[in-house]
């Protein structure tokens, strides 16, 4: 079963991040919102109305795998997708977006001549060119270089500023942390997180020490009171066990080496994700860990 017993509300005008491990049901949920898949039970309401074919005109959808006619010219395919949504002023929108994404020179070229990054930008334009009120993006940042990722990120935030609601799925926790007003995590078809980043982190409390030392990981291991060490190379994140004093942990490490800096903080989204879906959590649940 891809998705089971899932309930979520997406506030209008927000950027809503969908996270979850591979195969957890993210794409299936997005497809159900789009009315491409039909749920066996339950209901999906978009803009307060039960999802039907007509409502999809107000929704733009960008699938994870790009769906572009390879032999069509860029401008033609964008106009086709825009008009298919009964979008107003599609021609002008197409021109604006092509200029903004630096694709004007490619407007009359066939899709098959585009690089993967360019095709991804074209797919994004195809999604938003009809000025939908709700925009659903499945892994929009995957495969983009930092420059194009920034362009896309700015575009998403501008669409939000215009009043659109944006739902996107991602495996990049940094992007989710920085861009999303609300974060939703699905795991094995069920909701495990739903709320603002702050509210999610509040549930876990300030149980993380982020530390930078001269000797790195080696001095952070086997410290009493540390449940888990996550190594980021230059810095390490230490999860503090319940009932233990972070001060004592830092003091222990300072006794071993020179500490360049540290802070007591709430766990990052990455850390929360791993705690929920990582091998440790699965071991606790009695699952066989991945090889």
């Amino acid at each position: 079963m891809a998705v089971d017993d899932l309930a979520l509300d997406v506030p209008r005008g927000s950027v809503y991040g969908f996270i979850g491990p591979n195969g957890s049901g993210k794409t299936t949920t997005l497809r159900m919102i789009m009315n491409i898949y039909y749920p066996d039970a339950g209901s999906i309401r978009v803009f307060g109305e039960e999802v039907r074919g007509a409502s999809t005109d107000r929704v733009g959808y960008m699938p994870e795998e790009r769906g572009l006619y390879r032999r069509m010219k860029v401008r033609d395919i964008l106009r086709f997708y825009g008009e298919l949504k009964n979008g107003d002023g599609v021609k002008r929108e197409v021109d604006d977006w092509l200029e903004r994404f630096d694709l004007v020179d490619w407007a009359h070229k066939k899709v098959e001549t585009l690089s993967k990054g360019m095709a991804q930008k074209v797919q994004f334009i195809a999604t938003v060119v009809s000025r939908p009120e709700l925009i659903i993006l499945d892994e929009p940042f995957t495969g983009l270089d930092p420059v194009n990722a920034d362009v896309l990120r700015e575009a998403v935030l501008e669409l939000q500023a215009r009043g659109s609601t944006v739902i996107f799925s991602t495996h990049d926790m940094n992007v989710a942390e920085r861009m999303c007003d609300f974060i939703f995590m699905i795991f094995k078809g069920r909701k495990v997180l739903d709320g603002t980043l702050a509210s999610i982190q509040d549930k876990y409390g300030s149980d993380t020490i982020r530390i930078r030392t001269e000797h790195g990981l080696s001095v952070c291991e086997d410290v009493d009171g540390v449940e888990k060490v996550t190594d980021f190379g230059k810095t390490q994140e230490l999860r503090v066990g319940r009932g233990h004093d972070p001060q004592e942990i830092v003091a222990t490490i300072m006794a071993r080496t020179r500490v360049d800096g540290f802070e007591l903080t709430r766990p990052s989204l990455h850390e929360i994700f791993v705690r929920i879906a990582g091998p440790e959590a699965r071991n606790e649940a009695g699952e066989v860990p991945d090889a």
Binding site: R31, I36, V59
Partner: protein, 438 residues
């Protein structure tokens, strides 16, 4: 409806704007006309080298007559009377004494001579050919050559040999063959069209002589054109839908339209492609026949039927092909489904000749009333049998209409499931289950 038309428009433009379509549109009639022209041109390209034919005449009655017949033919048929140019091969008859001791060895030796190109062929005439019914010995005439079955000389030999044998039999019976010069003249049977009454003038028009051109123009060319248009408008939908599915285009499109609208748009696009090609061919054909003085052979009465059959065939078969395409995940699976999918188009091609020969037989009638075959076979029968009972084409059309509705309904259900079903092979069981249960 607007979305369906937009999909149809894209489908149509994506096809007709390709070089392949334009090239195919031009090349098809060019190839057809070219092959007809080539047949006419190459018809005169005969081998004019003399053909030496050995004759083993065991009857002792025929060889001389055959020699004379060849001489007569050579005198009038080998050289063009005006230009004096050699236009046909001369037949050189060489009489060979039968080897009664070793007949098989003689056959082998002559065969070797044919292989060595010293002879073109040889004829072995049995002893009893004058009275084959009562002959105690053999009464056959055998023709030995490299390509004996299709060799024109074999056909030519029959007439002088049999005319001479008949003459000998009449002489034996005491008839003076010299008394009647036209005793062995041949009168052909001319093919004529039926006479008809002109409803305006009330005059009876005599049946005019029908030609081979008329015999094949409508009955063969119209169904062939139908085949071509189905291949252009309906068959490509199988691969097109498979590609849209495998490249995830369908997922994007289905974010905007319902599966039924998607499929309807694809099929309508196919209809538009076929109508475009049909317009070019029909207008072009009519114009060409009028300009070349063959206007009387234009089957105007068939044209409305042709268009109706074509539109329904594209809708019916296009929906089926689109459904099959939606069930496939890659080109290999599409290829495996192509053969069964092509049967409704190929079977009418296989039975064209028997239907053309006997258009009013029970077999032809039943085959043409089967909805999948109606567009090609009923069309062919209507072109041949002008007095066909009116209920037959109308019943065929009604059957097509019902079958088309059923096909579109079932195909729509298959399409709805198949287009989003990844990794499930297009097994017949799956397709039937999707059609029945959605």
């Amino acid at each position: 409806m607007l979305k369906t038309l937009r999909i149809a428009k894209r489908e149509y433009l994506a096809t007709v704007k390709t070089k392949g379509f334009i090239l195919g549109l031009v090349l098809a009639p060019v190839l057809f006309a070219g092959s007809a022209l080539a047949m006419v041109l190459f018809n005169d390209q005969v081998d004019t080298r003399d053909k030496v034919i050995a004759v083993i005449d065991r009857s002792g009655l025929v060889a001389d007559a055959l020699f004379e017949a060849a001489e007569t033919r050579n005198a009038i048929a080998v050289y063009d009377a005006e230009s004096g140019e050699k236009v046909r091969a001369a037949y050189v008859v060489r009489v060979v004494e039968p080897d009664e001791m070793e007949p098989d060895r003689q056959l082998l030796e002559l065969s070797d001579q044919v292989r060595e190109r010293n002879l073109h062929a040889f004829v072995a005439i049995d002893e009893g050919v004058l009275h084959p019914r009562t002959a105690s010995a053999g009464a056959q005439i055998d023709y030995y050559a490299e390509n004996a079955a299709l060799d024109d000389i074999r056909g030519w030999l029959e007439r002088p040999i049999n005319s001479h044998l008949r003459r000998l039999r009449l002489v034996e019976a005491g008839v003076d063959t010299a008394a009647s010069a036209d005793m062995f003249d041949w009168v052909g049977v001319a093919p004529m069209a039926l006479a008809s009454l002109d409803p305006e003038t009330g005059e009876i028009s005599e049946g005019r002589r029908s030609s081979e051109l008329e015999a094949v123009l409508a009955p063969l060319i119209l169904p062939m054109l139908m085949f071509l248009l189905i291949m252009m408008g309906a068959v490509p939908l199988l691969n097109a839908v498979m590609e849209e599915k495998s490249q995830r285009i369908a997922e994007v499109v289905l974010g905007s339209v319902r599966p039924s609208q998607f499929m309807a748009g694809k099929v309508l696009g196919g209809v538009a492609v076929s109508l475009t090609a049909a317009s070019v061919y029909l207008f072009g054909g009519v114009l060409a026949l009028r300009e070349t003085g063959y206007a009387e052979f234009i089957p105007y009465r068939m044209l409305p039927w042709f268009v109706i059959y074509m539109v329904m065939a594209i809708v019916m078969l296009g929906a089926i092909y689109a459904a099959f395409g939606s069930a496939c995940n890659d080109p290999t699976e599409a290829q495996s489904l192509m053969f069964p999918a092509m049967l409704p188009v190929m079977i009418p091609m296989f039975v064209m000749v028997p239907v053309l020969r006997e258009p009013e037989s029970t077999f032809s009638t039943l085959m043409s009333l089967f909805p999948l075959f109606t567009p090609m076979l009923m069309l062919m029968r209507q072109a041949v049998v002008q007095s066909m009972p009116a209920w037959q084409p109308w019943l065929g059309l009604f059957g097509m209409l019902v079958f088309t509705l059923l096909a579109v309904w079932g195909a729509g259900r298959i399409f709805r499931v198949g287009i989003l079903m990844q990794g499930t092979p297009p097994k017949v069981g799956n397709i039937i289950r999707w059609a029945l249960h959605g």
